[in-house]
């Protein structure tokens, strides 16, 4: 097709040279559009009532990440560090996490802290399945992540993510309490970005 003196072929055109330019928002209305609020409102007008849920996501996420209650379960020496994290010096009460629940029914979070042996694996899985949704798992230490020094063993599972989904992996053998705190902060970031509100840009 001849157009404007040079030829534009829709088949042989080099798409790698075309760069989509993202316009940086400058005016007030552009900035408002960039937040995704308008598209949210438009979507809410189509589906009546969902505006309530889309904004309440943030409230839910804030509530969930501010009161993550871990289940009291430790498998090996990483659980000693878990006690250290819970005690006064490193104090995860700052995150509202100090209440280690003795029952998985009341817990949101499970620290898989230690070696998951073949014999313990069905128990760990059962513990995870007994927790009510929403629930998160942090795998702590080399053993729970990959099997660690027992990777070639006959009796140790090669990573707890073989049996349950894991949100955050904390490396270390065992990880220092600072590493735990970093992992906890990563999980909080993850929870903050969950839900429809986050996908629509409402978390900004």
């Amino acid at each position: 097709m001849e157009k404007g003196g040079f030829r534009v072929d829709s088949v042989t055109i080099d798409t790698t040279k075309i760069k989509p330019v993202r316009k940086t928002p400058e005016t007030a209305i552009e900035k408002l559009e960039d937040t995704g609020l308008i598209s949210t409102l438009l979507a809410a007008r189509e589906r009546e009532g969902s505006i309530l849920f889309s904004t309440i996501d943030q409230v839910f996420n804030w509530a969930r990440l501010s009161s993550l209650w871990p289940v009291t379960s430790g498998l090996a020496c990483c659980a000693i560090e878990m006690m250290g994290v819970a005690m006064a010096h490193h104090d995860i009460a700052r995150f509202g996490m100090e209440i280690f629940r003795a029952s998985p029914r009341q817990a949101d979070l499970m620290f898989v802290a230690g070696t998951v042996t073949k014999r313990m694996a069905p128990r760990v899985k059962q513990l995870y399945e007994m927790m009510p949704d929403p629930k998160w798992v942090i795998s702590v230490g080399s053993c729970a992540n990959t099997g660690g020094p027992y990777h070639d063993s006959y009796s140790v599972l090669k990573g707890v993510d073989n049996i349950i989904p894991v949100d955050v992996y904390i490396p270390g053998c065992p990880p220092r309490p600072e590493a735990w705190l970093y992992g906890i902060i990563q999980l909080r970031e993850k929870i903050k970005n969950e839900g429809y509100g986050a996908t629509w840009g409402l978390d900004k």
Partner: protein, 167 residues
């Protein structure tokens, strides 16, 4: 005269070899005479059986008993050499009550049968596990999984589909 030499003097037929192992007197005993030698050692004052170890060599299996005397603060190492394919030795539970679990552990991991043991079952691994893992001929290729059965018992199988996540 150390404890191994005393044992050799008391039972010259049962003890085949004496020496030192890690600065502890060591006596190698015929497997038929283990109970006699152990009873004699107990008479000599060795009132504690600390550890039972099983070692899998190419041509033989050894069981090593570490004895300790609280009164004299002495050690004694007893060693028996067993057949590789059918390792079997008398149980020492009649002499030391603590031998019960130690022998169960040695049976579990090395596969040595202790005749006369009151309850020779696995202690660490669940019942039904295939093979004894610390033996050199243990099959490391087939992975075994444990699941919980309907009555709460451990069920061993090579099929981990109930346990593993579907990917």
């Amino acid at each position: 005269m150390n404890a191994a030499e005393e044992l050799k003097k008391a039972l010259p037929d049962a003890v085949t070899k004496i020496g030192m192992q890690c600065n502890k007197p060591e006596a190698t005993v015929k497997k038929e005479d283990l109970l006699d030698a152990a009873a004699k050692a107990q008479e000599l004052g060795f009132d504690q059986l600390s550890v039972i170890t099983g070692v899998d060599y190419e041509d033989r299996v050894e069981v090593i008993y570490n004895l300790f005397s609280y009164e004299n603060k002495h050690n004694l190492v007893l060693k028996v050499i067993l057949d590789h394919d059918n390792p079997e030795v008398d149980s020492l539970t009649t002499l030391w009550k603590g031998a019960d679990w130690l022998e169960r552990e040695t049976y579990d991991l090395v596969g040595i049968k202790f005749t006369g043991h009151p309850n020779l079952t696995r202690i660490l691994l669940p019942e039904g596990w295939n093979g004894h893992p610390l033996r050199k001929d243990y099959d490391m290729e087939t992975e075994q999984f444990v699941t919980i059965g309907e009555d709460g018992d451990d069920v061993v199988s090579t099929d981990g589909s109930n346990l593993l996540r579907r990917k």
